[in-house]
Subunit: 391 residues, 4 copies
Amino acid sequence: MAITGAHVARAPRIRLGMVGGGRDAFIGAVHRIAARLDDQYELVAGCFSSNAEKSMASGADLGVDPKRTYADFSEMAAREARRKDGIEAVAIVTPNHMHAPVALQFLKRGIHVICDKPLTATLPEAKKLAKAAEASGVVFALTHNYTGYPMIRQAAAMVKAGELGDIRLVQVEYAQDWLAEPIEQTGQKQADWRTDPARSGAGGATGDIGTHAFNLAGFVTGLEVETLAADLQSFVPGRRVDDNGHILMRYKGGARGMLWCSQVATGLENNLRLRVYGTKSSIEWSQEDPNYLWVGPLGQPRYRLTRGGASTGAEAGRLTRIPPGHPEGYLEGFANIYAEAARAILARRDGTALDAAVTFPGLKEGVAGVAFVDACVRSSGRNGAWVSLNV
Amino acid sequence: MAITGAHVARAPRIRLGMVGGGRDAFIGAVHRIAARLDDQYELVAGCFSSNAEKSMASGADLGVDPKRTYADFSEMAAREARRKDGIEAVAIVTPNHMHAPVALQFLKRGIHVICDKPLTATLPEAKKLAKAAEASGVVFALTHNYTGYPMIRQAAAMVKAGELGDIRLVQVEYAQDWLAEPIEQTGQKQADWRTDPARSGAGGATGDIGTHAFNLAGFVTGLEVETLAADLQSFVPGRRVDDNGHILMRYKGGARGMLWCSQVATGLENNLRLRVYGTKSSIEWSQEDPNYLWVGPLGQPRYRLTRGGASTGAEAGRLTRIPPGHPEGYLEGFANIYAEAARAILARRDGTALDAAVTFPGLKEGVAGVAFVDACVRSSGRNGAWVSLNV
Amino acid sequence: MAITGAHVARAPRIRLGMVGGGRDAFIGAVHRIAARLDDQYELVAGCFSSNAEKSMASGADLGVDPKRTYADFSEMAAREARRKDGIEAVAIVTPNHMHAPVALQFLKRGIHVICDKPLTATLPEAKKLAKAAEASGVVFALTHNYTGYPMIRQAAAMVKAGELGDIRLVQVEYAQDWLAEPIEQTGQKQADWRTDPARSGAGGATGDIGTHAFNLAGFVTGLEVETLAADLQSFVPGRRVDDNGHILMRYKGGARGMLWCSQVATGLENNLRLRVYGTKSSIEWSQEDPNYLWVGPLGQPRYRLTRGGASTGAEAGRLTRIPPGHPEGYLEGFANIYAEAARAILARRDGTALDAAVTFPGLKEGVAGVAFVDACVRSSGRNGAWVSLNV
Amino acid sequence: MAITGAHVARAPRIRLGMVGGGRDAFIGAVHRIAARLDDQYELVAGCFSSNAEKSMASGADLGVDPKRTYADFSEMAAREARRKDGIEAVAIVTPNHMHAPVALQFLKRGIHVICDKPLTATLPEAKKLAKAAEASGVVFALTHNYTGYPMIRQAAAMVKAGELGDIRLVQVEYAQDWLAEPIEQTGQKQADWRTDPARSGAGGATGDIGTHAFNLAGFVTGLEVETLAADLQSFVPGRRVDDNGHILMRYKGGARGMLWCSQVATGLENNLRLRVYGTKSSIEWSQEDPNYLWVGPLGQPRYRLTRGGASTGAEAGRLTRIPPGHPEGYLEGFANIYAEAARAILARRDGTALDAAVTFPGLKEGVAGVAFVDACVRSSGRNGAWVSLNV
């Protein structure tokens, strides 16, 4: 297969701003590395905190011009839109409830948006944002970063090519243990907002990682969930959102699925794992060992595809930087979302056609994710009754 | 730890008969190896088929005296009971619907029973058999053989000792692919009766392997399922029983579980896997790699216990024949059920007290397994409503 | 593929005697299970110890007739040879230095021999025994038991069929840690004789497990070592034999190999692992996970063959009892050597032709193994000079 | 443990130049990503090829000022040294024989050097370069990138802390298959120069990857090889350098080692694997699964440390960007070498003391690596005699 490889001929870098991601944040720094990895973006402005001092300090850490370091995201949007060398795109890495208000400020000024997931904290808000963003015409990328792993692209390509036959079963799980104890009560910042329904949304584990699992299954199979039945729990005393979800899914067309998301699965780190079974073959992939895809054709030996290796196709190869056996990881997969978004942004800038192979999660996936959380909460509230997704 | 080891000082062998298990059967031969492995049984009589010729041919293969080779199990029970050297125990390895009628003939004559699972094809029958067997006072072992694996004993001991803390989650699955296509229509004998509700019972995958998964989770955790919600499917056109089951479980005391059983999971062989998560630690075990138990204590590195190895306890050691690193497998685990039953039978024979460490699945587990299938079918018939187990 | 399966139509059992294997022995019990597993042998006599009391007690444990329980192996050979129902075969499970004297007593009386490895403690003795055994015409099986694993049979068949192309490299290792400390000084019985050159032979790790690794590589590749260079160590203070060996090998025809054997490899149990690389493909197998064989064809994805599974051939299938996904282990592999030997013994008894597929290690492999140890010791004594194998 | 994390407060970026790494090169692009990942370097000049047109085109791809894109590395060194904003460091990513001439031009002008491995193509050249570089006082980093993996840092820290006890055994291997066929005869650029002794040096696999294995073992154990015995092969017809090496090593202090390097190991990608056995414990690490370190303490269960996870120490944490369970890979490890070198360069720039924890391979390791190849070739030429390393 052809590996595109690490050598990238780059256009003048996309001028990028960031909202959120100050000194004590986690995901902001990941976005910055992802933006930097393939040299397609340059971070030139930011509102890293609503606290002015903190925002300035964070900007200084990152080498951002103090004049373009803001404490108010609306002001940032307004000012940057006025500059000749203003930002072309903004990365939104705030808690969930701020995604929509921030995004609206930028997209209405024609600034492209790269937004962390889930899209918003509530479903009505998600739908409203999607409508506005579509109307604006900007590029809108949602960082369901696991879809950036090359072997996930390979899996999706195999499903699309019919190599699995008709899909019968989807078994997907994302289990962690970092919320096995009530650490939100100790002031741990990540736990604090993620377990606060006002900032995170009605879902806890379902929103934070269940949406990733749901999105990944949809990305690979191309199937849509019609109804689901959910049994959500809050195992940790005092917790205000779910920390575990057991979910059954019925897909359009007859496939069935099981989704498990948990933040109390003692001993697990980031166990995101997808298995898909069709009439002819199956695939299995684990995020903690992401350079491999296991294939199980009926009546033949199981085999292992490797990123960049023999029999792995162009869809994986175009997002692969280095030869097989030298692992790429989480940051590279995340960077692939940025790279795909860059291709879309540059096509707009240059007025050229976008390569048909480019794909990244966006508004549709964002609404679906929030609808997934909404449905889980509704179903669980009705003792696990089957409910439709209001997408 | 102390390994009991392969050297066994044996009593005069238990005289064993068998019903079922003729030439073209599968599980009968497994039972015979299991009985033989530790040299505690001697096969001396059998009704290997209801077809006289076939029974005689099978008996001849196995070196059984033609005079003690029968075509009618009632006659066998009657005659053997009359002999001075008659069988002390009978292994029942017929299709499910025959377990009860056969067992009743033997146990009413005081002959101990080692019966393949599930206990019976229907729940009323299971309860009736259990009552009769209890009344008779015979030893009754049900070959939920996976509970014979030493590392499963280790896991159960760890749970009992509180090493996992309070159990929150049980994730168990048993998935195969041998029924991914309608092979019952080609006359494959195993598929034929296992997909026939009249012989197998109302459950397909749920009865054949779901019961194993259900039993294993109960054995290790010591928890009882209070209610379950099931979504059963028959993916293969024309199939008369379920070939896939997605099941949510609520345990007494608050733990929750997910159980997946499938016979259409393309590419899988005998993927029985159990994961249990408690407040303090977790365990993970896979039947296809049974000599290891993974332990995941909260906030500490994950570690691997090996059968017979460092830090593995007496409960595993007493069922271990050879040192760690030399794998024992399915037959050894199966033989452990026979060995445990032998200890019970010999205690009866000798009028001695039974070692408190001896344990094996029996009537209670048998009724629970059939109740599990019954509940799955009822729940699925009511679109996945939560139903109680009628145990 | 066709699995022979667990159902075995058996001939009247082979009457088996045993020398060694009393109460505190290890390998004797393994031999007995191996003999019993497929129901082809019946243990009817034994000299379980040269201590009469101990031999009688051990015989009683095993249900052996006290009249056929001996304290002197020569007497046993003489008496059993005179009985009409005397033993047809003897299993020799003593320390190494006794293999030859015991074997000679039985084979000269036409009694078949199943002997533990290595063949003898010294090379001259090995050659003398081989000559005598060949002259006697008895069946002589040497329990290099790892060659009984089905996936090793599969590997050998693939090499023979040319699937690997020309073999270039053999990487084989057998590493344990049970002698990482001087436990022979604490009276541990297994350590005691295995580190005593008078009973074990000049090699320690080389003789005890290096011979297994050497034999396995030869069995799978069909290649013969022409010269080797060895760097042997005795890491544990006071140890009288090597406890680690680093060995380079040059095979006839140009292939090269590396062999590592160790009994001081902290943290390892029975890490016997073979990798063979040819011009077209490679195979990899690990004894601790023996039901799988990994195949790595050049320029194609790596795949996994399973015992009894898709694309696994007849050579593995004929030694397979149960379907794939239900693991067989060490005892089953050991039993396969007994089963193969039984086929040879029964062919002699019945005067029938032996199935061409039957194969088991014997005198040639035994002499080669002792020659391997001899060469290692010679080379190491000459600072790792390349030396020839005196086979 | 404390993860330093992805948020980096950066100083003004180090101005970096590059020699080599044009359009059709491989490792140059890897170096550029490594330099970029933590935002500590800015590529501002380059001599990407000795062909002026190719160098200009490559520079344009990378956004380098055409005025600072050169076709002659001496000219580049001279001009950049004269600029006020001239480069502070140069990355050398040419074939091996050019490392020394290029490095000498830059270091004599006080420009820091980050050089790909091996240090040079010949041992005299390596020693000469080392002397000159030491005299110049520049920072000299050699990209033995595998020492940048956090779990390798963890392993080294454990050895240093005595957790393994006294080291007895080092088993290290680096095996690939990309040269299993004579692809250098088809014009494949990477194969072309790497199999040409004039450009690569006397070693083939030994120089290209054997040096990595050798360096890694030394980095983790802190031990020095005193003598080695090598059996090198050129399996592929017409190949001018070794493509496989079997090497025995004796370390100062008594430890022994085995090193296998191969480029004809069919089916392997970048199988670099290190195992170290001490009197108290052992470690095992595989480059293809680099986020884990297996620890095997004597008489205790084997456990798994994860990058960023429980019980993993500060030495790994300071080179870790993201939480455990989200894999980092080859590029991140490579970037860690750049990050360590940046710390040294910035300390020079700022006149501050260097954090004692900073470590990266440099001249000493470079000379040792070339001495390793030299010794292998000498030993193999003398039929595997033990030879000393001329360091």
